[in-house]
Amino acid sequence: MQQDDASRRHFIRNAALLSGAAMTLPSIGLGQTRPDDKPAPPATNIADALAMPRTATSMPGLYPGRVANVSDELCVREGAPVEDRAALMLERGMLELTGAASLKDAWLRFVSAEDMIGLKVNPVAGKLLSTSLALVRAVIAQLEAAGIPRDRIVIWDRREFELHEVGFTTENFPGIHITGTECKDAQGSFVDANGRLYSLDRIDKDWFYWADCEEPYDAETLPYMVNEGKHSYFPSLLTKELTKVINIPILKNAGNSITLCLKNLAYGAVTNTARLHKQLWGETSAQVPCFPPLRDKTVLNIVDGMIGCYDGGPGANAQFIVPYKRLLLGSDAVAVDRVGYEIVLAKRLAEGVQKKESPRGAAFLTLAESYGLGVADPARITRVDVAL
């Protein structure tokens, strides 16, 4: 759903009205685990997001609490995902998730030929641990088979050059637009002749996540953060061009937690994120997807778990990269994250990385559930396990 001018103005007005209220909102979820004498985390403008009217496509979407977990022993060969097996897993997962009679029908429950569809991948860990080209090719092929023209599909992430580095190039994906907020010119420069960041032309300052914390960036870091201050801006691609988002993260850990659907949307969309990691890691993951550009457009999540990691994430540390040999699918990002969290946690416990679950590991999911983004309680999640 593209925001019209009226709703944009509504958002800005609400932001002005509610930012003061946000300052006094208690921190829930993660804050509950803090001892009483510890300071509350910085305030944010989450109240602004929660005040925005929901739409028919708002998260958790068509299938709240339902997750298809498709595994296939043959999907990784010589350390690399196998494209035809990825396609089979994807097909089976779409049918199990939706209960549709045909694959075309399954896809068309989420998107139509009129949509501009963004495939939100995750290339941040480089070639070793990126959303696989094999899975993205399978997604595109099945979208095309469902009648979606290639020119209505965009592969995107925050960093355009990282997309290119891992193989999301026009050579590998002819006819598909590939773009990111943070970008360089042909000479490798982040700035134009006047010293202005190209990225500034790719953000929408009407849409932002505000948090009462900031961090100054030096000249080298700024191009990767785009702006300083207390605002993290959404990309204009998302707010103005895309009408639907298919989220395709990787099955990997982030410390004793995970970095799957919610984090791929949150940290993978907005600018100025370094300031958020230390004080608002979990809050950011749960709160940024509450804003309409993500909440109302992200209709499907497909976790690439053919190859993932259980330690060293979200970066790539080869010693901890493992073939999980599975895909997780769901419209409910919170439920998919919960299932993924349990898979990663089980591996961490088995490998002795952790002795027991940390109460903080899944706290951001509980927080996300409290915002109405999806189902975090395992008892209320329907997990459909399929082995090919």
Binding site: T33, R34, P35, K38, E78, G79, V124, A125, K127, L128, R159, E162, D218, A219, E220, T221, P223, Y224, M225, G255, N256, T259, A274, H277, K278, D311, G312, G313, P314, G315, N317, A318, Q319, F320, I321, L349, G352, Q354, K355, K356, S358, R360, G361
Partner: protein, 289 residues
């Protein structure tokens, strides 16, 4: 005349300083005949987000200076050599202990190293070297090993001197599993179960061992805090009451206990203490440490 001497001396010093900036870590085709060695890419602490997005914070927490990356390839064979220079040897050692998979095979001839099918990793002085293989063929593995041996020799320099409690005594046989942690992010990666115990403590030196197997393993820490306030905060979070008779800063012969949680601490000296947390080895460790 004098200015010219000063100028020449300055040039000489600059050359010496430049020479001291680890030029030996740069690989050339002479080091690996028949292979293509790409031009090195160097990223300093301010550029790290551009190189290892998603993992930069951990390096910065330990204290990071620069990373030099070089790609080596020969036909379909390919591996990447990253030499991370940290601000001090302890930082490099800490990063290495978090980056390696405990209990794995060592690179022959390199003490603080680990080796798996697609990665060679070692620490030497202020440098941590990470060689990532993009294929698992023998020729690639052999070339990567020769590069590891070569760089280990070239980097040379002072090896990090570990505390005597790490290299001798009851835990010496577990030294291949030790992890060295200095801040909250590393703690969350290495011993996430302890994150709440260190809540609000920004810097500390922690050597951590996991003794035993699986969920019944005991966690052991040798911790050096920066202040008595941090010691008090830690003990309080661990549920360990300190009797008034125990004076701050003085070694304690007896373990201070949280019997209900199977947690115990004993001050070694100053702001250093042992901490043992649960598991099947709990009593044995209290008796031997």
């Amino acid at each position: 005349m004098i200015p010219r001497v000063v100028f020449s001396l300055t040039l000489f010093l600059c050359a010496v300083i430049a020479g001291a900036q680890s030029p030996d870590i740069l690989l050339t085709t002479r080091d690996l005949p028949g292979w293509t060695i790409d031009k090195a890419e160097t990223y300093n602490d301010r550029q790290l987000y551009g190189y290892i997005n998603g993992g930069a914070e951990l390096y910065l927490e330990y204290g990071f200076r620069q990373v030099v990356g070089q790609r080596c390839s020969k036909g379909e064979h390919e591996f990447m050599v990253d030499v991370y220079e940290m601000v001090q040897p302890q930082a490099a050692f800490g990063m290495w202990t978090l980056s390696r998979r405990p209990g794995k095979q060592r690179i022959p001839g390199i003490e603080w190293s680990s080796m798996t099918g697609n990665q060679l990793l070692f620490v030497r002085g202020k440098q941590m070297v990470n060689i990532t293989l993009f294929d698992s063929r023998d020729e690639t593995r052999n070339a990567a090993r020769s590069v590891a041996t070569l760089l280990h020799k070239r980097i040379g320099g002072m090896a990090f001197r570990l505390p005597k409690e790490v290299v001798s005594g009851a835990l010496a046989k577990h030294k291949d599993e030790v992890r060295f942690v200095q801040g909250p992010l590393a703690l969350a990666s290495a011993v996430s179960d302890w994150s709440e115990l260190f809540e609000g403590i920004a810097r500390f030196d922690l050597y951590h061992w996991r003794v035993g197997k699986g969920a019944s393993a005991s966690d052991v820490g040798l911790v050096t805090f920066k202040s008595q306030r941090d010691v008090d905060s830690f003990l309080k979070a661990a549920g360990i009451a300190v009797p008034k008779a125990v004076k701050p800063g003085k070694p304690s012969a007896d373990w201070l206990m949280n019997a209900a949680a199977n947690r115990a601490a004993r001050r070694i000296d100053g702001l250093r203490l042992w901490f043992v947390d649960g598991g099947s080895e709990f009593k044995k460790l209290l008796a031997t440490l």
